[in-house]
């Protein structure tokens, strides 16, 4: 019985996934349609968000436009357009496997279990989980959250780590950042955990940034990569070459400065270690 239900449902999803055309490489698809479709966020400043002028912008979107599109144009020898669709942690892998998007460019952490489903570009940003708290809160780091109410983002690696390391913490998971921050500002939770850079984004956007503090050492390692369909190394090569060229030419540093520099959306200086790490990923031509 169990097997037959599994089979029926499996068949249903396979039908849903199998388009009319047979397996087509991503480069062929982009060449034919003339557009690269990315999945990205609308509420993750400064990586991808809708700004005050109602424009969909961000660091990850700039990287795609200024690093990956030029590499694609060169490879396919034509002008490729960029199309954006909204993705979320729960939808980004299905969006890729169903061909709805070709590339996920947002705040997706590269993990081993995700690598079983999708392929990742090289790491384009490095961060780690911390806590956002009201100034003077007893929560200082992951050691001091036992018995506390902690908000986290659903589907994030941070929630997983807290559940495993500090099972006595009362974890409340929200689907998006605004709800988690709202719970924190109403004192429904004692701290909100997410990747440090996202907390910096939230703090910078808060009505009174000086009321909030980002505390604790990184208790997780979150390397952001761009995800694409598995086993499509030609496309991945173009994406990686685009990123490598941007890092070695200084284009990456300019885009970084625009979003994370002193005058950027979320000031977050590039540490020497992270800079070195990015440069070491660039293999010789």
């Amino acid at each position: 019985m169990k097997r037959s239900i599994g089979f029926v449902v499996g068949a249903f999803f396979v039908l849903a996934l199998t388009g009319p055309s047979r397996a087509q490489s991503t480069l062929e698809k982009i060449d034919k349609s003339g557009a690269l479709t990315i999945g990205t966020r609308t509420g993750s400043p400064p990586f991808a968000f809708i700004n005050r002028n109602n424009e969909w912008v961000g660091f990850a979107i700039d990287l795609v436009e200024q690093a990956i599109l030029p590499a694609l144009n060169k490879k396919l020898n034509k002008q490729i357009k960029l199309e954006k669709k909204e993705s979320a942690p729960a939808t980004r892998i299905p969006l890729l496997t169903s061909n709805a998007v070709d590339l996920i460019a947002e705040t997706m952490t590269d993990t081993q279990s995700r690598r079983e489903q999708v392929d990742f570009s090289l790491t384009f940003f490095v961060t780690g989980a911390q806590f956002l708290v009201r100034k003077g809160s007893p929560v200082k780091n992951i050691e001091s959250i036992a018995g506390k109410r902690i908000a986290a983002q659903q589907g994030s690696t941070n929630a997983k780590i807290i559940r495993e390391k500090v099972p006595s913490a009362r974890l409340v998971e929200f689907p998006d950042q605004p709800a988690g921050f709202q719970a924190l500002s109403q004192r429904q939770v004692d701290a909100y955990t997410n990747d440090g850079i996202q907390l910096a984004g939230l703090k910078a956007k808060a009505p009174k940034p000086e009321e909030w503090a980002i505390v604790g050492e990184f208790f997780s390692y979150e390397p952001y990569g761009m995800a694409m369909r598995k086993n499509d190394s030609d496309f991945r090569q173009v994406v990686n070459v685009g990123l490598m060229d941007a890092i070695s030419s200084g284009r990456y540093a300019e885009i970084y400065e625009k979003w994370f520099g002193a005058k950027g959306e979320v000031p977050y200086p590039l540490t020497p270690e992270n800079k070195r790490f990015l440069q070491l990923q660039v293999v010789p031509k």
């Binding site: 449902v9 396979v14 199998t18 279990s113 998971e173 004192r187 429904q188 369909r229």
Partner: protein, 241 residues
């Protein structure tokens, strides 16, 4: 694009216990929400038909206000909007005792209460007016007539649309994940997080909701058969004209 299914993710690791916890939480929030919804629905539905104008206005106000605002907004209202008006000590107590769950119960109960009220009103209005007049002429007060005659008959008549509403309430309980209630949909997403297997997790959720809803439908069908007054639906209406 082909996709290799790996159904074993649903019973290896913690997935199985998460799904069970998810089903239990969904049933818990559903049962409490249903109790509130039925209580509010019966009272408001009955009041909408009574011959006393202020009570009718009150009930109409409740129904229109709660029915016409999206459930998601009510979730946020009960979770973020209500606690700040309570004294600090009660707030702290609530925050330590799963406020998100109770906010979810209130949101579902009050929202679906307004929808149930309309179903019950329709049931009451389908009963010939002469029934009420006859019961009043035997010396019953309006309250007694409603309690002993009208509402018991109406509840039997509305079982099919009430089944709809009940199934809706169960499915709408998934909206509670927006305020952090770890119900079934939440747990399927959790499995996706841990295994990166979205399709398997989604399929498991789909099948579990299907089983739950079919169970509700068959329980309601059983109740319908048990409490049916022979000939009531067909003959009651022809008798009215």
């Amino acid at each position: 694009m082909s996709y290799d299914f790996d159904w074993s993710v649903l019973w290896t690791g913690q997935s199985g216990s998460w799904l069970i916890q998810g089903v239990l939480t969904t049933l818990h929030i559903f049962a409490l929400g249903l109790l509130i919804a039925l209580a509010l629905g019966i009272v408001a539905g009955a009041l909408r038909t009574v011959p006393i104008a202020p009570l009718r206005w009150l009930a109409s106000g409740y129904v229109e206000f709660f029915r016409n605002v999206p459930l998601l907004v009510w979730m946020f209202f009960w979770y973020f909007g209500v606690p700040p008006f309570l004294p600090r000590a009660i707030q702290d107590w609530l925050f330590d005792h799963g406020v998100e769950f109770w906010a979810g119960v209130c949101a579902l109960g009050v929202y679906h209460g307004a929808r149930f009220a309309e179903v019950i009103r329709a049931g009451i209005q389908s009963i010939p007016k002469t029934q009420l007049e006859a019961s009043l002429s035997t010396g019953l007060t309006v309250a007694q007539a409603y309690r002993l005659i009208i509402v018991p008959i109406a509840l039997r008549l509305i079982i099919p649309p009430a089944t709809n509403e009940t199934v809706n309430l169960l499915k709408n309980s998934s909206v509670a994940l927006t305020i952090g209630v770890a119900e079934l949909t939440f747990q399927t997403r959790q499995i996706e997080t841990y295994t990166a297997r979205a399709f398997e997790a989604l399929a498991a959720g789909t099948i579990l909701y299907l089983i739950l809803c079919l169970t509700i439908a068959s329980i309601m069908a059983y109740i319908e058969r048990r409490v049916a007054i022979p000939g009531m639906i067909a003959q009651g209406q022809t008798g009215a004209s």
